[in-house]
């Protein structure tokens, strides 16, 4: 009977696995025409070097922003990790419930267990980590050097045909009278 049961289990597993072509990865995603880059707005761009700026800034006029919003109306949202968390209320709620249960049980465990040195250290570590995390969020720690550090190699990179990557602040400015649309202000320090 036991042998038969074991044999049946193996057969069931095999029968499920083989026709399923189990865990075959999804086919390589072929970009559909909708996913290919497409022009949604044509405008002009002025690049201005600024020796007093610390961060690169992209200034967009209000009228242009409205045009952009209209053009982006039909674009599918990006399913990144952050947006996935933000937009999946069920998953976020369950994560919160489990986190609540975890902290509650951890508190009960700490309270019930004897105050040994190791546990005090663990509690201090937990509190310290939470405090550091909160402080990091508040002061925007890990911000890195100012944007001018990254943008200072832009002229050399442009002459060599290399890309340059750096942070940028996007500003919405009132419509100007000079007719200029977008303006990119790059921090540049004289050498």
């Amino acid at each position: 009977m036991k042998q038969l049961f074991t044999l049946c289990l193996f057969c069931l597993l095999l029968a499920l696995a083989v026709p399923a072509f189990a865990d075959i990865a999804k086919p390589r995603p072929v970009p559909s025409p909708a996913e290919l880059p497409r022009v949604v707005l044509h405008t002009s761009l002025t690049i201005v070097p600024d020796s007093k700026a610390y961060e690169a800034r992209l200034q967009i006029t209000q009228s242009e922003l409205k045009e952009l919003q209209a053009a982006l109306g039909n674009v599918q949202p990006n399913n990144s990790l952050t947006s996935g968390i933000a937009h999946s209320s069920t998953r976020t709620m369950l994560a919160g419930v489990f986190m609540f249960l975890s902290l509650s049980f951890a508190g009960v465990w700490l309270a019930r267990s004897g105050q040994t040195r190791a546990r005090k250290a663990l509690a201090a570590l937990l509190v310290g980590t939470a405090a550091l995390g909160a402080a990091a969020i508040i002061v925007k720690a890990n911000a890195g050097p100012p944007g001018s550090y990254y943008w200072k190699k832009l002229p050399q990179n442009l002459s060599k045909g290399l890309p340059t990557q750096g942070g940028i602040d996007i500003e919405i400015v009132p419509d100007g009278t000079d007719g200029a649309q977008m303006k990119l202000i790059i921090p540049q320090r004289p050498n």
Binding site: A22, D23, A25, G84, T90, R91, M99, A106, W109, R112
Partner: protein, 357 residues
């Protein structure tokens, strides 16, 4: 008087010789361990895709057979007080494996939209964590000296992280599973070769150093050319889609390196240590022991199940041969099927490791 002195001297010489032999064997063990780990890291960094193909082809099936035999060796004839533990373990292994294997079937039928799959994946991961927490709870009831209640908040915390990013949690299992073999080796050494344990644990410090060196060396390398279906599957299995900012060369190399360690422990280290242990205990015909059903306590015991053990081991050999044939005919498909069905051995490791703690 002279005879007594000679006797003492003989005993001292014997003790010194044993101590020297032990020191030598520890050094040889550590040297082999470090050499194997370094060589694995080198090969995995050099040709990650090719080494991945070869190692899975050669060692995936046999290492599962050795694991099966190891688990049978550790299975008691009567469950006794561990009845609830083993029933929970087997029910969990069966249920979770069937659920995991049926996920691709359901995906192919298109029962749920793509947006629902992270939730389904998170549900399976949660069941896994809760099953593990229950097993730990049952095991801790048998060990009155140790307090494992801290594992409950840890399991719930992991559940929370899993619901935030289920795909990343699954990827973490892919990378963490090979390391469980090192834990098995640790527990086994503690029982059979306690003199080697300290050296083994020290040599484990090399592991993070090797990983850091691999990541440091390969992080600036271009992504691997995954232009054919097989190589693409390997990079996806290592998490290239989930971590687009990390070079797939790093991901595949690290994964292959950990897999090689895993196979090395199950195929070489544990059988060799068991053999040496058997020789110290006066075992005979060591070369044939691994094939003998009677070496498994479950089969040797008067009230044991020799036929069941023989059938299980025989079926294991059969599946290894079938796997090799499958790899030969259609490597990519056989690899996908293997890595899905192999979730059973990942799950089975948990209860047997817990029984050793």
């Amino acid at each position: 008087m002279e005879r007594t002195a000679n006797l003492d001297l003989t005993a001292w010489r014997a003790a010194t010789a044993t101590h020297t032999d032990r020191q030598l064997s520890v050094r040889v063990f550590v040297a082999i361990l470090l050499a194997c780990a370094s060589l694995s890291a080198l090969l995995a960094s050099w040709l990650p895709l090719q080494v991945s193909v070869v190692t899975v082809f050669l060692f995936a099936g046999p290492h599962n057979w050795f694991e099966l035999r190891y688990f049978l060796m550790r299975l008691p004839v009567r469950f006794g007080k561990s009845r609830n533990f083993f029933l929970t373990a087997f029910a969990g292994i069966g249920g979770l494996t069937i659920a995991y294997v049926s996920l691709p079937v359901l995906y192919s039928f298109g029962f749920w939209p793509d947006s629902a799959w992270p939730t389904i994946l998170a549900s399976w991961n949660t069941l896994l964590l809760l099953w593990l927490a229950l097993l730990i709870r049952l095991r801790s009831q048998q060990k009155s000296t140790s307090d494992w209640s801290w594992t409950v908040p840890v399991a719930l915390g992991l559940c929370s992280l899993n619901w935030l990013a289920p795909e990343f949690f699954s990827l973490a299992i892919v990378y963490a599973h090979p390391l469980v073999a090192l834990w098995f080796l640790d527990r086994h050494l503690r029982r059979t070769r306690p003199a080697w344990l300290r050296a083994y644990r020290r040599s484990l410090c090399l592991l993070p150093l090797l990983l850091i060196a691999m990541v440091w060396q390969l992080s600036r390398t271009p992504a691997l050319a995954d232009d054919n279906g097989l190589f693409w599957r390997i990079t996806q299995h290592a998490g290239a889609q989930l971590l687009p900012g990390v070079s797939s060369h790093v991901l595949v190399a690290v994964h292959v390196f950990l897999e090689m360690l895993h196979y090395g422990v199950w195929l070489v280290a544990l059988p060799l240590i068991a053999r040496q242990h058997a020789s110290r205990e006066g075992g005979r015909n060591l070369r044939a022991r691994i094939w003998e059903v009677r070496t498994v306590p479950l089969a040797r015991h008067p009230r044991g199940f020799p036929r069941l053990v023989a059938t299980a081991l025989g079926l294991g050999v059969f599946f290894v041969v079938v796997l090799w044939l499958g790899f030969s005919v259609d490597y990519a498909t056989a690899r996908d099927v293997y890595f899905t069905v192999a979730i059973a051995h990942v799950l089975a490791e948990a209860p047997f490791l817990l029984k050793m703690l």
